[in-house]
């Protein structure tokens, strides 16, 4: 064992009561940091997971239709005030190429095409406004774990099958195997019909008011979504909205969720499409999360400050108490640097052992808290995220603070004049 560590450990052992008290102080401090971080991290993760559990992190869609000004032949504006057109379900032009481009973007984990639009679900005398989402199940499941929300039936979307939320099922009295009619608006097809395509128009009109078999019922934990969402296959939705072969949005999942906004901007720039991240669509949530993080950091800073002052004061007292011994050490060949390192090592040891105590305490508090407050389904009301990165970070902070806090007393000890120390003997 190195000389400085050997002496430092003995000094800490010698002042046992002092050492135990400061270790308890550091332990409580680190415990609070671990517990707070785990609790706030857990809450944030839970909020984000709940939010992102049912939506893509980036949604790419065509640019909005804007009114065009009417020009005379010579370029003079004839009519400047043009009524803004209603937005309709439109396909992304060459969406396959855009999707391939997005897939090439570093950090993109998965993409999935979707056709999404408003419709009315009708059964008997009941009718509900819904959002029909046509998906490719295999790629969509990599973005939203829809299968995990199924509470009845299964995720079968082949042919004219649909899965609906528990709210819609309740409102329309639907069960798995029942049929529900979906139509686009009350006056029929609202899609644009290209001139000169009567056969296509007829087929499409038929498709816009077809009956679908309920193959599954889901519960995403959100009453509004449970009442409004209806999932069909991409092909069925394409037919429903008259977008054969098209996709109105491309859903994107990224590796680092907090990079979504930056990535959305890059995707927008590369594809020329509108890319909206979850951070833009959930700005209030994000502000809340940031405020929560800031308050957590503030608390941690003050706790760290208290721990640092505790270590520093204990070591300062120790230097005074041990001035004679420091004099003897110096007289018997110990260098000033070695004396400095002896006291820095004490700070580091206090930080290390204190952090181990604190991490244990933080884990116990976290698990205890998680066990006490539970939801009716048994899941914790306050989810706690305990991970090794948090422990390592806490230990590194405690050791760093221990060394930094020991610096002033250590320098004082090292600068002690051996002759003065001898005179005090």
């Amino acid at each position: 064992m190195p000389f400085e560590l050997f002496v430092a450990l003995r000094y800490l052992r010698e002042g046992r009561t002092q050492t135990l008290l400061i270790l308890a102080g550091i332990g409580v401090g680190v415990g609070v940091i671990v517990f707070l971080s785990a609790l706030i991290g857990g809450l944030q993760q839970s909020l984000v997971t709940r939010t992102l559990g049912t939506q893509a992190q980036i949604v790419v869609q065509p640019r909005e239709e804007v009114p065009r000004m009417l020009h005379e032949d010579d370029g003079v504006i004839r009519e400047a005030r043009v009524e803004r057109p209603a937005q309709r379900v439109r396909s992304i032009t060459q969406w396959q190429r855009a999707r391939a481009e997005i897939d090439r973007q570093p950090g993109v984990v998965a993409t999935s095409p979707m056709v999404s639009g408003a419709a009315i679900a009708v059964r008997g005398g009941g009718a509900n406004a819904v959002v029909v989402q046509g998906i490719e199940p295999e790629s969509y499941l990599r973005i939203v774990p829809l299968d995990s929300f199924i509470v009845d039936g299964g995720l079968e979307l082949d042919g004219r099958k649909a899965i609906i939320g528990v709210g819609l099922a309740h409102d329309l009295g639907l069960s798995v195997g029942d049929r529900v009619r979906l139509r686009l608006g009350t006056s029929g097809d609202t899609r644009s019909v290209r001139a000169g395509e009567p056969a296509r128009e007829r087929a499409s009109t038929e498709a816009t008011s077809a009956a679908y078999t309920v193959s599954g019922i889901f519960d995403v934990g959100n009453a509004d979504l449970n009442e409004r969402w209806v999932f069909t296959s991409l092909r069925v939705a394409q037919a429903l909205f008259g977008l054969e072969g098209g996709a109105s949005t491309i859903e994107v999942k990224v590796a680092e969720i907090y990079e979504a906004e930056t990535m959305a901007r890059e995707i927008g720039a590369r594809t020329g499409l509108v890319a909206e991240s979850w951070m833009a669509t959930n700005e209030q949530l994000l502000t809340g999360l940031r405020s929560q993080s800031a308050s957590s950091v503030m608390i941690q800073v003050f706790v760290i400050l208290a721990v640092a002052l505790g270590i520093s004061s204990v070591l300062a007292v120790s230097v005074v108490q041990k001035s004679r011994e420091i004099g003897i050490l110096r007289a018997t060949g110990t260098s000033t640097r070695q004396v400095l390192r002896i006291f820095l090592a004490q700070g580091a040891i206090l930080g290390l052992i204190g952090s181990a105590v604190g991490i244990g305490l933080g884990i116990a508090l976290g698990l205890g808290f998680q066990g006490v407050a539970t939801n009716p389904d048994g899941s914790p009301s306050f989810p706690v995220t305990l991970d090794s990165a948090l422990y390592l970070r806490s230990a590194a902070i405690a050791v760093g603070v221990g060394i930094a806090a020991a610096l002033i007393p250590a320098r004082r000890a090292a600068r002690m004049d051996p002759a003065d120390a001898m005179r005090s003997i």
Binding site: L329, R330, A331, G333, T334, T336
Partner: protein, 243 residues
């Protein structure tokens, strides 16, 4: 008692172990305190000298100078032929560690360590970590001072005389050519004091280690080879006591 001649024979040719020329030490800012006023002193290898004087005469300051624990305000100091008055901090520490052993009046062992660890401490500081040779050397020294069976005892569990003997062993562990002892028997009963003095004497005779012993005890001083009497920061007399 006869006055010592400056031409006293050296055991190492003509080069003294320690040579002080005009060493002066002044403390204080506005109000100056002259602790040492131009001390000239020569110490040869293997000498066994007593440093005496009344309280406040400057003998402890002189001991600090010789032990490189303090720096003179003026004058020259040579140790083993090397000018040591102006050495930097690291060189001073190294010279002190290898060249000078200390025995203090209140023995001053480190209470957190065992007798063996206290003896090993100077070696540990120099080498950085313990090894078998170090332990063996410290054990041999504890045996030499008659405390082999107390090696693992905490320093605080030893009697005053035993602690002082451990301190002697510690002072010798680096095989220094010079040991400085500040009132080594001052805090002991007469029997323990005698024991410690005899130990120092026997080490001097067997190993040729030079000793400078600060003492108020005139009888003890008379048992040394030479007595340097300091008064008011000056060497008042430098004599060889009658055999």
């Amino acid at each position: 008692m006869t006055a010592r001649s400056d031409a006293a024979p050296s055991t190492n040719g003509d080069q003294p172990l320690l040579l002080l020329e005009g060493v002066t030490k002044v403390y204080g800012g506005r109000v100056k305190t002259h602790a040492l006023r131009g001390i000239d002193l020569r110490l040869d290898a293997g000498e066994f000298i007593a440093l005496t004087g009344p309280s406040g005469s400057g003998k402890s300051t002189l001991l600090n100078m010789i032990g490189l624990l303090d720096r003179p305000t003026a004058g020259r100091m040579r140790f083993q032929g090397r000018d040591v008055a102006e050495l930097d901090e690291a060189s001073t520490t190294a010279t002190r560690a290898r060249g000078i052993g200390f025995v203090f009046q209140f023995h001053h062992l480190l209470p957190a360590f065992t007798a063996l660890e206290n003896v090993m401490m100077p070696l540990l500081a120099e080498r950085g970590r313990a090894d078998d040779e170090m332990r063996q050397r410290a054990s041999n020294l504890l045996e030499e001072v008659g405390l082999a069976d107390r090696a693992t005892y905490p320093a605080t569990d030893l009697s005053g005389g035993q602690q002082q003997r451990v301190a002697v062993a510690r002072a010798l562990v680096m095989h220094p050519p010079l040991v400085l002892a500040d009132e080594p028997t001052g805090n002991l009963d007469s029997e323990s004091g005698n024991q410690v003095f005899r130990l120092l004497r026997s080490i001097n005779e067997r190993h040729g280690t030079a000793f400078v012993i600060v003492t108020h005890d005139e009888r003890l001083a008379m048992r040394c080879d030479r007595v340097v009497h300091v008064v008011d920061g000056r060497v008042d007399s430098d004599t060889i006591p009658p055999a």
